[in-house]
Symmetry: C2
Subunit: 320 residues, 2 copies
């Protein structure tokens, strides 16, 4: 692998916005736009935990940036800047970082975010990628998880369970399916749609740990009960095929992570407006339930019978 | 180790400022103070590279935060917020994270910075800590590495080489010396002094990779030659003893990393003012050379003979 300074100059500097000061100062300097709040999110992704490690480096990069963009989407924030920390074993081939950077570039071009700085170091273990992403929302206008209200409808974007099933495909536990594998490897953060529903939705989260877990954050934060109807959950044809093959994996539709779709709540009269925005942004949006007085998350069948109550989100230090 | 959510609630939430929104939203939201620029820096610290790994967890935490605070000090920025990403092997004892958090708390109390969010994950390898730190400076007033001028004096804070010699102590290559070991383990970022010289210094950097390497960034960025007199370099009694024991390690005074002192340039007429500020902030400050027309870094002996020309900074992917 080339030297650290060469890597930075060759691969990362071309991704930088003016806020990075040409990386000459080891710090970014900028001011926030008038009338805007700053929204910051951070995710650390670790080889063997968040990605397998043998993916194409561009694919790892796209996923790492997409995960952070998805957090901004869930806040209705416009992506602006990100900082990249990357720790890579010395024995990676010389062009690994170049391919990684090309993945960042592709995801930047989709989202309008720019690199503002970071840190590149060697690693004695696997790859670790840390991204801190910053976006803007009009003052006081950040979408939150704590503001759902009883009576609201609950919506999700896209289809559910594809990524968790895709991981099983990648691991060889399910028959090959390029669509599902790609949904696992390269999430599509819903930034433009997240910005569009910022003043319409009452609460929003992105689905990183599974629908029930993530909607659970809304239920707990808002002090409400979220009731989801299993039969309404949108699934892709590929996911339906996979679940037919392996019925025991059906629960991944609502408990599988990594989809990076949005789940949001909105008052009933907003249904038409949401449908128009879905069309305008070319995103499928499905009403999957409603918010009620009470607490917790209830997944119910067509007879209203409880299929599953929510656990908390994926826990990195749980042994169960 | 306890569950991830319990760890966050028990240890990290008490460190958070209001900008973290009680960690209910997985994002921070805040606005920058009127008339201020935002300065952001990021460092990734990896077990086996930046710390040995068997240090007390509080010590690792203090160092990781200190390194980022030192970057803000070099910009003259007032520390405000930081985001923490930490990846920890599951088999660490249950109270490891608690002790780590106590180190963060101690360093927060010294600097006034507050936690605003982050991410806690398991690791299959060693410990990785990623910190993104944010500070404020009056608009247009960030201290830079690119603005030194021929004729300026060059100053350093504190003493040099202690940390690099301290690492040899920790590794058993030098006789036990608690002072040097502590200088390696727990750097003292020079934040209040950095803020104080913001309008007086022409350029500034912190010494993370060794004096010659870091002053090299000033030389390259500013398009000047930096001439440093070896006999002027401030060293502690402990470092002097260590170098007497092992004369071959003398070069660590100017090429050893991890001191996290500041090196800055200022016009000659500022000497008196700098001396007063050094007294006021209880920081030793020493003039070690001057800025000249030309390029590069020259370390010279009392006869003006070249001792060493600068290499570039520590390179994580260099094999030499």
């Amino acid at each position: 692998m080339s030297g650290e300074f060469d890597l930075i100059a060759e691969y990362f500097l071309p991704l930088a916005g003016p806020e990075g000061l040409g990386f000459l100062d080891d710090a970014a300097c900028f001011s926030s736009p008038e009338g805007q709040d700053i929204v910051v999110t951070k995710d650390l992704l670790v080889e063997g935990i968040h990605f397998v490690g043998d993916e194409a480096p561009a694919s790892i990069a796209m996923k790492c940036l997409a995960v952070n963009l998805s957090d901004l989407a869930a806040k209705g924030a416009k992506p602006a800047l990100y900082w990249l920390g990357i720790s890579v074993p010395k024995d990676k081939p010389g062009d690994w970082v170049g391919h990684f950077a090309s993945g960042l570039k592709a995801m930047q071009e989709r989202s309008g975010i720019a690199l503002a700085g970071g840190d590149t170091t060697a690693s004695l273990g696997g790859i670790t990628v840390s991204i801190t992403a910053l976006g803007y929302v009009p003052k006081g206008g950040m979408l939150r998880r704590t503001t759902a209200r009883a009576g609201d409808d609950i919506y999700v974007t896209g289809t559910l369970g594809d990524a968790a099933l895709g991981l099983r495909v990648v691991q060889g536990a399910l028959a090959s399916d390029a669509y599902l594998a790609e949904r696992y490897r390269t999430p599509t953060p819903r930034n433009s749609f997240g910005e569009a529903i910022r003043t319409i939705a009452t609460a929003c989260a992105d689905i990183s740990d599974g629908l029930l877990a993530d909607v659970g954050h809304i239920a707990i934060g808002s002090g409400v009960c979220v009731r989801i109807e299993e039969k309404l959950l949108p699934i892709s044809d590929h996911a339906a095929d996979a679940v037919r093959q392996s019925p025991a994996l059906r629960h991944l539709i609502y408990s599988g992570g990594d989809d990076y779709e949005l789940v949001f709540t909105a008052p009933k009269p907003m249904a038409g407006k949401i449908s128009s925005l879905a069309n305008a942004h070319d995103v499928a949006v499905t009403c999957v339930g409603r918010v009620e007085e009470g607490e917790g998350v209830r997944l119910v069948d067509p007879d209203g019978k409880l299929v599953q109550a929510a656990k908390r989100g994926f826990d990195h230090f749980s042994n169960t």
